[in-house]
Every structure is written in structure tokens, then in C-alpha cells.
């Protein structure tokens, strides 16, 4: 229990020249970036730009043709692909309707990562599950429900709890709010921000919505066709200091519909 009371030991992440190829199709081509410990980093782009593939490559779900991923910020950090690495780097997926097992209770969903990593036994596991539920604002009353008994926002909270139950230092977020209503999106974004501050987490967040990314992230990368288009700080973006035409088009899109002159 003492582990959570210590000041959080933050970890960052460095990706160098990532290249992912599927059957001859180059999905990600030479993308590299660094996320400082405790920083929140965003990746923006349209469908097919390779942004989700970058995220999957970071945690080993997509095969890397070349390039490497390293954790930074401390000595003796685990190498990618190892079990300790996966404990430090956890992912929250886009669709809370698809990422939770429909025939398992919340309790079993949350117990699974603990079983895989051999953490705790009996009572200690139960305490961790209850704590994880409290942390995402759900309370222990949700422990024995099935996913279909929860709303979209509640499911996404369970997905966040499942990622956090291992106490990772890096959280990969793949469009965590795009399947949710605007009003529920605000709640989940607030939750993610509060958790990041409380645990000193580093975020890598993928989204197609510039406003959502700038809300949560200090720096962001714009991607298109598997390549990096532009690297920006959120302040640059808010002040409209952007170079690439593509980024400008994205900014216009975020501002809403403008009627063509009749």
C-alpha cells in the first residue's frame, strides 16, 4: 500500500524512426518523438494517417520494421516487449462497447491484469479492484455488473480503471472519447486530467479532434499518410501559429461548419 503514497516516479518515452509495414503497405514511415516524464503528448490526424498504428507500435501491438521505443527518466527501465514494460505502459482503446468482454463482470475484467502480472492474492486483489473503481469515480456498487448494464461513459471509466489497476507510468489513449456524447466526453477528459496529476502519469493521446487534444496535451504532432506533418505546442495552436496547410485545414474543421457563399 505504501507504493501509492510515495511521490510518483515519472517515466517518459522516446520513439525513434518508427516504421510499420503491413504486407508491403507502409503505414508509419520514420516517425520519431519524445515524451518527457509526466508530459502529455498528442497525435492528431485523419483516418488512415497512421496515428493509431504509432500508438500500437509503442506498446508492441503492431510489428516494428525498424526503429525503436525506449522508456526514459530513470535507470534500469524495462525493454519493450518484456512483461515489466507492459506493466508500465498501458493502453485505453477507442470503443468502450468493443473493448470490454461482454460476458465478464467488471470484477473479472479488472482482475485479469492482476492475474496476468501475478499481483496480490485474494483480499489484496479485492482491495485493489475496489480502489481502482473509486479512482475512476464509479464506486464499488459497479463491481458485479456486466458491461451491457453500463452506459458508454461508465464503460470507458472501466477501461481506464483496467489500465490503471497495474499502476502504470505511461498511458496510451486511442481516441478515448470519440465514441461518447459531448457531455460525457467532458467528464472523461476531466477524469483523465485529474488522474494524470494525481499519479504523475505520462500520456500519449491520439485523436482526430484538435480541440480535445489541445485540451489535454501540452505538445502535439500532426500526422498524415504515415508521416509527421508538423510538431506543435498547444500554445502555438491556440495562437494559430501553424505552418502546414494541412494543420490549418484541421483547425478550420474544428471551428465548425461555415456556409459557402450562396
Amino acid at each position: 500500500m505504501n507504493a501509492t503514497l510515495q511521490p510518483p516516479q515519472t517515466i517518459g518515452l522516446r520513439a525513434e524512426a518508427l516504421r510499420v509495414v503491413f504486407d508491403g503497405f507502409v503505414a508509419v514511415d520514420g516517425v520519431g518523438f519524445e515524451v518527457a516524464p509526466g508530459e502529455s503528448f498528442g497525435i492528431v490526424g485523419e483516418s488512415g494517417s497512421g496515428k493509431s498504428t504509432v500508438l500500437r507500435a509503442l506498446c508492441g501491438l503492431a510489428p516494428l520494421a525498424t526503429g525503436q521505443v525506449r522508456l526514459t527518466g530513470r535507470e534500469n527501465l524495462p525493454a519493450p516487449g518484456s512483461k515489466p514494460f507492459r506493466r508500465q505502459v498501458q493502453m485505453v482503446f477507442q470503443d468502450p462497447y468493443g473493448s470490454l468482454h461482454p460476458r465478464q463482470t467488471v470484477d473479472r475484467i479488472l482482475a485479469e491484469p492482476l492475474a496476468i502480472h501475478g499481483i496480490g492474492q485474494g483480499d489484496e486483489r479485492e482491495a485493489r479492484i475496489e480502489r481502482a473503481l473509486e479512482e475512476v469515480g464509479l464506486g464499488t456498487g459497479f463491481r458485479f455488473r456486466y458491461p451491457h448494464q453500463l452506459s458508454g461513459g461508465q464503460r470507458q471509466r472501466i477501461a481506464v480503471a483496467r489500465a490503471l489497476i497495474l499502476e502504470p507510468q505511461v498511458l496510451l489513449l486511442d481516441e478515448p472519447t470519440s465514441a461518447l456524447d459531448a457531455s460525457v466526453q467532458a467528464e472523461v477528459l476531466n477524469l483523465l486530467e485529474a488522474l494524470r496529476q494525481r499519479h504523475g502519469l505520462s500520456f500519449v493521446m491520439v485523436s482526430h479532434d484538435l480541440a480535445v487534444v489541445t485540451h489535454l496535451c501540452q505538445r502535439l504532432m500532426v500526422m498524415r499518410g504515415g508521416r509527421m506533418v508538423e510538431m506543435l505546442s498547444a500554445a502555438d495552436l491556440a495562437a494559430h501559429r501553424v505552418q502546414a496547410d494541412y494543420t490549418k485545414a484541421l483547425m478550420q474543421a474544428a471551428a465548425g461548419f461555415v456556409r459557402a457563399a450562396a
Binding site: D181, A186, L189, T214, F257
Partner: protein
């Protein structure tokens, strides 16, 4: 531009229109619309509770969260309420036709013909084993007695109208072979090919990328203004994104728990009175105006029964 629509559609609608009905009547009149489903504990649960509005040839937005009854309102107008659901209304009239008491055959003729609906996700709402062109032609086969050659021409024209550059190629593709934006255009083409006077769009852009969203909205906007040979049509745009709706529509209905809590002109939105409307507006993160934490909605029980 006016009155150049010599289609069979016009004549058919005249046949159904009762005599003495003023042409200046709104296209659609909804008064005290209620939709109820059987509850598990017995009895009925009302999901739409007394919604009323009128629609001319304009863009009306219906906004609310999941479960507010906005989609159910759209579906009830079209007669697509799921089995078991009970629809009642004081008035539900489209162009002089009482939709609730008209014979099923007439309702079927209206659906897809003069009233059409664009659904949320092209991945799930297109038939996966049918070529796109054939799906669009199917609408015409059901609603317009024209030759196969003319059907083909109108299908390609409808695809071209939605901004698809190579309609013949796209018509020969299956839905899984096109992108989300292209699929949604095909869906819109399918709905527009029969020249409807009222289009109900249920979250037509929620499944799309922001850049593609704007293209699809542009297509819809042009068709609402200039479609049907310049006569234009009425549009009901259902969405949970109040900002998007307000930038696109003329008028917005805000729904909460099955009721309309506020009706407001899109340009007046910043002066919205109801706390729920203000909450929906403020909960979206905005570029250049950071708010930490984001304001969330409080949902008060007293709003249930205003």
C-alpha cells in the same frame, strides 16, 4: 428556378392531398408527439414525452444527449419505431397527410420517397453484399416507375451530386471497398435519389473524421438549398454536438429526457436561457479558450417536468 419538377412524385402527392389544404401550410407539423416502449416491470416507459414543432423548407437541429429521445423523434416521423413501441400524437401531419391514420401502403410510399432518412454509420447501414449502385437503384425501383436506363442515369447523377468525382466506378463497388466519408455520401445519394421533400439526418457525420465531416455537411447544405431542381427541402438534423448543429442549422430544438426544453434560433444560441442548453454548449473543449476542468452538465430532476 421555381416549380421545375415534372416528376411522377409531384403528381402522386397531389392525389393524396386532401382538397382545401392550404399550400402555405408547414411541410411538417408535430404536436404532442409521444413514443412509449413496454417496460420490463410492466407498464410503458415514455421516451418521447410531448414533443411539438413545425418545419418548413429549412434546417432544424435536434440536440440532446444519448437517451434524450432525439433519434426516437426522427424515427417516429418516418414510422420506423421499433416493434413494441407505441407512437401517439395530437398531430403528426406531413404536407396535409395525417401520418398516424393514413393506410400503411401510403406510409410506405412516403418513406424513402418523399421523406428520407440518413443514418449514422455507413458501415452498418449499407447492405454489405450489394453493390452501392444497386442499393441506390433499389430506392428508385420502389418509388419511381421509370426504365432501367433512366434509373441508372439518375443513380449516377445522385452520386455525382454528393461530390463523388467518378460515380460509375463508385457505383460498382461494395460498401467495404469505400472509405467512411465515401460511404456516407453514397448513403446520402441513396436517400436523395427519389427527390424527398423532407430529409431526416440522424447523426450523419458522427462516425466521420472532422475534415470529412465538413465535406459531407457541405453536400447536405447545398442539397437542402438547391436540391430537387432548386426547390430545396426540409431537413431535420439530429446530433449531440450543439456547436456543430448551431453552425449548420437555422433553428435548434434542445431535448432533455424526452421533452423539448428550449427552442432557439441558431444565431441566438449564445443567449440561451436554459441551464441545460448552456451546459451542452460549455462542455466542449475549445481551441484557444482553455478551461480546466471542463464544466460538466448537472442534470436536475426538476427539468423533467417543466
Amino acid at each position: 428556378m421555381a416549380c421545375a419538377m415534372p416528376s411522377t412524385r409531384r403528381r402522386r402527392s397531389d392525389k393524396f392531398r386532401p382538397e382545401g389544404v392550404e399550400v402555405s401550410e408547414p411541410l411538417l407539423t408535430v404536436e404532442d408527439l409521444r413514443v412509449a416502449y413496454p417496460a420490463r416491470e410492466g407498464g410503458m416507459t415514455e421516451v418521447v414525452r410531448g414533443v411539438g414543432f413545425t418545419l418548413g423548407r429549412e434546417r432544424l437541429g435536434i440536440v440532446g444527449e444519448s437517451g434524450s429521445g432525439k433519434s426516437q423523434t426522427g424515427r417516429a416521423i418516418l414510422g420506423l419505431t421499433a416493434p413494441g413501441g407505441v407512437v401517439t400524437a395530437k398531430t403528426l401531419r406531413f404536407d396535409g397527410i395525417d401520418l398516424l391514420s393514413c393506410p400503411p401502403k401510403q406510409r410506405r410510399a412516403l418513406r424513402g420517397g418523399r421523406i428520407a432518412m440518413v443514418l449514422q454509420d455507413p458501415k452498418f447501414s449499407l447492405d454489405p453484399v450489394m453493390r452501392i449502385g444497386a442499393q441506390i437503384e433499389e430506392t428508385l425501383r420502389a418509388h419511381a416507375p421509370i426504365s432501367a436506363r433512366e434509373r441508372r442515369e439518375r443513380t449516377l447523377q445522385a452520386l455525382a451530386d454528393t461530390g463523388i468525382e467518378d460515380p460509375a466506378r463508385v457505383a460498382a463497388l461494395y460498401p467495404h471497398e469505400v472509405s467512411g466519408g465515401m460511404g456516407q455520401r453514397a448513403m446520402i445519394a441513396m436517400m436523395l435519389v427519389a427527390g424527398p421533400e423532407l430529409l431526416i439526418a440522424d447523426e450523419p457525420t458522427s462516425a466521420l473524421d472532422v475534415t470529412v465531416q465538413l465535406q459531407v455537411l457541405g453536400v447536405l447544405d447545398r442539397l437542402v438549398r438547391e436540391g430537387r431542381g432548386g426547390k430545396g427541402m426540409g431537413l431535420i438534423f439530429v446530433s449531440h454536438d450543439l456547436r456543430l448543429v448551431s453552425s449548420f442549422c437555422d433553428r435548434v430544438l434542445v431535448m432533455y429526457a424526452g421533452r423539448v426544453v428550449e427552442e432557439i434560433a441558431a444565431t441566438e444560441l449564445h443567449r440561451a436561457q436554459h441551464p441545460y442548453t448552456r451546459g451542452l454548449l460549455n462542455c466542449l473543449p475549445q481551441l484557444g479558450a482553455p478551461q480546466h476542468p471542463l464544466p460538466t452538465l448537472d442534470r436536475r430532476p426538476e427539468w423533467l417536468n417543466p
